[in-house]
Amino acid sequence: MAKVPHTPHESPARWTPTRMLARLDGDRELAVQLAEIFIDEYPDMLQRLRDAVAADSADDVRRAAHALKGSISNFIDGGPTATAYELEAMGRTGQLEGTPPLLERLDRELIALTACLREFQSKGAGGG
């Protein structure tokens, strides 16, 4: 069973680093590096998910959404994590009819999240 995000309506546009920093023991340098890795990695992961949806492959949708969910959950509990979870669940049940609008939503949420992460990153390890 996959982990259900706790706050599905959390908005990525209002993302703050507080929770992530708490989880990383206040290690701002590590948080900045993690954001950097995510910004580099997520486009490929999202593309994998898009390909899976386009190929109508439930198993691939499940796996790609699952990986993306794990990745996003490093930063935020709800919002895009919850959307990725919904896509994963659709892949698991094989019900892919509703995936395109969810994929669009995920795309928007990730753009908002990465904008916040870039802003956080630009302040650097010192927190500026």
Binding site: M1, L34, A67, G70, S71
Partner: protein
């Protein structure tokens, strides 16, 4: 420094012999006769003196447990999982019978399936070809080592590894991270490289098995849901590979639930951590896995 296992077993036996004389169960000549009888019959000393009618079985094992500094209750009434609860962190014990610490695979299988009574200890001794005294010495050593060195560091207050520890403890260890999520791979890499580990990466189970065939791995961090070959299959494949029967495998996944946890541990994983994890939890668990492996090797040598 803890004595070598053979010395520890000899010390247990010596203390046991002294107790037999001190408790007036045998004289010096009686002890010699029991030893000869034991050698002839292939019995450990405590079984030899019981067989000669010099002592009842419970008293014999009580004295032996005292000699090994182990509560008799551990031998007589406590199931192995309960004993294990003294030895390993509760987070690793889970809801089924797994004893990650033992002398070898055979012993692990035995201990996980049998009650730890006198018969079990005797059978464990026979199955591993080691004397009961040696088995008890091993338990005693594990207990002492773990009492000195808690395996449950505070998640928020875990001290950062200092440079000396990194150099001494980690640089020789190679860790393979298996995950199709690049962010998690990156995070784990950052954390482990900080601690001085050499890190390799695999993007799925098939990739991991290929790397494991050619690389010496000291520990594997394994995701579960991956394309091509998932983590379940990769654990089975690694465990069937002669080089990796005992390589610690720490599963890091967002697949949640006791059934998942039980399954991966049954397949041969050593630990299970849920994503998103706290970095100190991951690094502490990895250190604990190495520590348990060192103890197991030390006790099984």
């Amino acid at each position: 420094m803890a004595p070598a296992p053979r010395d520890a077993a000899a010390q247990v036996l010596e203390a046991f012999r002294e107790a037999l004389v001190r408790e007036h169960i045998v004289t010096g000549a009686g002890l010699e006769r029991a030893l000869q009888h034991g050698r002839a019959a292939g019995l450990d000393l405590q079984d030899a003196i019981v067989s000669l009618g010099l002592i009842d079985e419970e008293t014999a094992y009580r004295l032996l447990a005292d000699a090994a500094h182990i509560p008799f209750a551990d031998l007589k009434t406590v199931r192995p999982t309960a004993l294990a609860r003294h030895l390993v962190p509760p987070s690793l014990l889970h809801r089924h019978e797994v004893l990650p610490l033992s002398v070898d695979d055979k012993a692990v299988r035995y201990v996980t399936s049998k009650p730890c009574d006198l018969e079990a200890d005797r059978a464990l001794s026979m199955s591993t070809g080691r004397s009961t005294a040696a088995m008890l010495a091993c338990r005693s050593e594990l207990r002492a080592a773990l009492a000195d060195d808690s395996l449950e560091p505070s998640q928020s207050a875990a001290p950062r590894t200092n440079e000396t520890e990194r150099d001494a403890a980690s640089t020789r260890h190679t860790v393979l991270i298996v995950d199709d999520d690049g962010t998690t791979r990156g995070l784990v890499r950052l954390l482990l490289e900080r601690d001085g580990y050499r890190v390799l990466e695999a993007v799925n189970g098939r990739n991991a098995v290929d790397i494991a065939a050619t690389e010496k791995l000291d520990l594997v961090v394994m995701d579960l849901l991956m394309p091509e070959l998932d983590g379940y299959g990769a654990i089975v494949a690694l465990r069937s590979h002669v080089r990796h029967t005992t390589t610690p495998i720490v599963v890091v996944t967002s697949e949640e639930g006791p059934a998942v946890e039980a399954q991966v541990l049954e397949l041969g994983a050593d630990d299970y951590i849920l994503k998103p994890f706290e970095p100190t939890v991951l690094t502490s668990r990895i250190k604990a896995a190495f520590r348990r492996q060192r103890l197991a090797v030390s006790c099984g040598s």
